[in-house]
Amino acid sequence: MKLCSFHLMPWTDLPDDFAERYPGVWVDVDPKLFDPRRGHVLYNEFLDELELAAELGFDGVCVNEHHSNAYGLMPSPNLMAAALARRTQDAALIIMGASLALYNPPIRVAEEFAMIDCISGGRLVAGFPVGTPMDTCYAYGQNPSTLRDRYWEAHDLVMRAWIEEAPFTFHGRWNQLRYVNVWPRPLQKPHPPIWIPGGGSVETWRWCAERDYVYCYLSYFGYRAGAKTMRGYWAEMERLGKERNPYRAGFLQFIGVAETRAEAMKLYREPAEYFYGRCLHLDPRFATPPGYMTEGSIRAKAESMVARAARASSGGPDHAMTFDRIVDEGYVIVGSPEEVAVKLREVATELNVGQMMLLCQFGNMSRELAGYNIELFAKRVAPELRGLFDDRWENHWWPKPVAGASRAAPRPLGAVR
């Protein structure tokens, strides 16, 4: 199986009473809470953490895109991936990903991804999410009713731009370009592996199956909540006659490793409560722009929505997220290296996920603790899991970089002068 290190790059200094004093962490989050000098330090620390993970043998490093968001400081994940391309050697650079419909024209994504693929010698995984309502419809002003159509079309445009061997004219519904000719071209042929992060709609699963893409379920609510989605995914793959290759699926899981379970419970309490209490303080005003959810999905969920609406209007309970509950519900897997390895093997097997993305820094976790978590995972957990699935399945969705001998790397010119 593949073990990758995911980073959200959260703002770590939200005040203790953030959830009481502010409407939310996203879209209209108070810009006065951002201090650029602290941002300078944080970006560098976060990159250190991903570089450490790569150095210690994580198979890939993952970055993602958010806008106007205090728990995700990467409006452009491509900038981070470009920095990582120079400072890592073998790790896959997994961009999870670029919200295609936000770019005008979307070939900007084809260009930047191709640049990163070239710089890194073919280590890019290209992720294409639709994007959350908060990012796309509110922070970026996209029309929720046209977003998905724009996304599909942008996808078609980017793929054609990578594959076609001559300049072409694209005459779409939303994008009309007389001259499409992407320079540079991606190094991987015919294109980098495509992974699609999605919320769990049947339409997305079918689309991934049709095109042979990896489907990724990136939830903050762990394996227990994710099991239902992944069961649905595999049932649909079976129905479509696709093999049960675990590398067709990616999954995100929060991890907290320490020497003992007791120590882990002590160490990861604060960052977990920070993440689930402050970072996930989401304003429901920005959750459901009309049209973002397809009518098919509304229809599928109509019953539960009626029930949920009724609960909401009666002012349902709003439990504070205590660490015990976070652990009980499986949002974060904590424990000794042995315990975490056993649990994660169980999760990967049960959910049948080969592309595992681990969040080892979350909330306001310090650089030191993140480093400790990453190191323990890499040295004591990962070896227990390596090789899982590989006896039976081939990972067709992993980058194919140029061989080590022909790979360019940073080579300071000072010695020559």
Binding site: T146, P289, A309
Partner: protein, 257 residues
Amino acid sequence: MKPAERAVRVNGFPCRVWEAGEGKPVGVLGGFSGVPRWSPFLEQLSRGRRVVVPSLPGFPGGLGHDRLDDLMDWVAATLDLLEQAAIEGEDLVGLSVGGMLAAEVAALAHVRRLVLVSPFGLFDEHEPVADPFARKPREIPELLCARAGAFEELRDPPEGEDPAEWMIGLARADEAAARLLWPLGERGLAKRLHRIRVPTLIVWGSEDRVIPPSYADRFARGIAAAAKVHRIAGAGHLVDADAPHELAGAIEEFLRG
């Protein structure tokens, strides 16, 4: 009274037309939520006139909003709809979302007399239109209506309707409104208002929490013809839901003149 119902086609999609009353026709284009049910406002208006209510694409009774990609598509579809419902060139009332389209239609084609009831279509950064698409569900009723219960009277499923289907229909109406209006800015109407050269009545509720009541004067100033502003004390954005009788009375009087 139950209106007579027929279906016309716009871009190949069915759109319902409700009709009731006698005499010269007056067309009504609905607002947020469209016209999910025959309302007390329509009932009263139909006592003096033949009221014709065509459903805009995507609003209850109408399909095909997902083929309308820009304002030009919407305006052309509205012109088609009025033609199909045989009320082009007649008196036209536009409410809220429908008010914006009625103004666009009147700027480009002939109508006899025009009534705009808290129409969308203009925007002033210093006094912005509120964002009805960024609200907690329980905040929506009092954002759109000032009279307690008015919003529920409009949107709660009637006896005998499948609540899930009814809700899906209203979700589609919300999407159609968003498809047309998102992100609620001015889309060129200010440059076309001067082309409205027919007698126009602008109606605004004093308690409109979506579009500030001062927008009534903005519309009136922009329209070349003599535009009359009528304010309804205590009414919110959905004036027809909040003050059905006063609104119907004001329209009747204006159209008679």
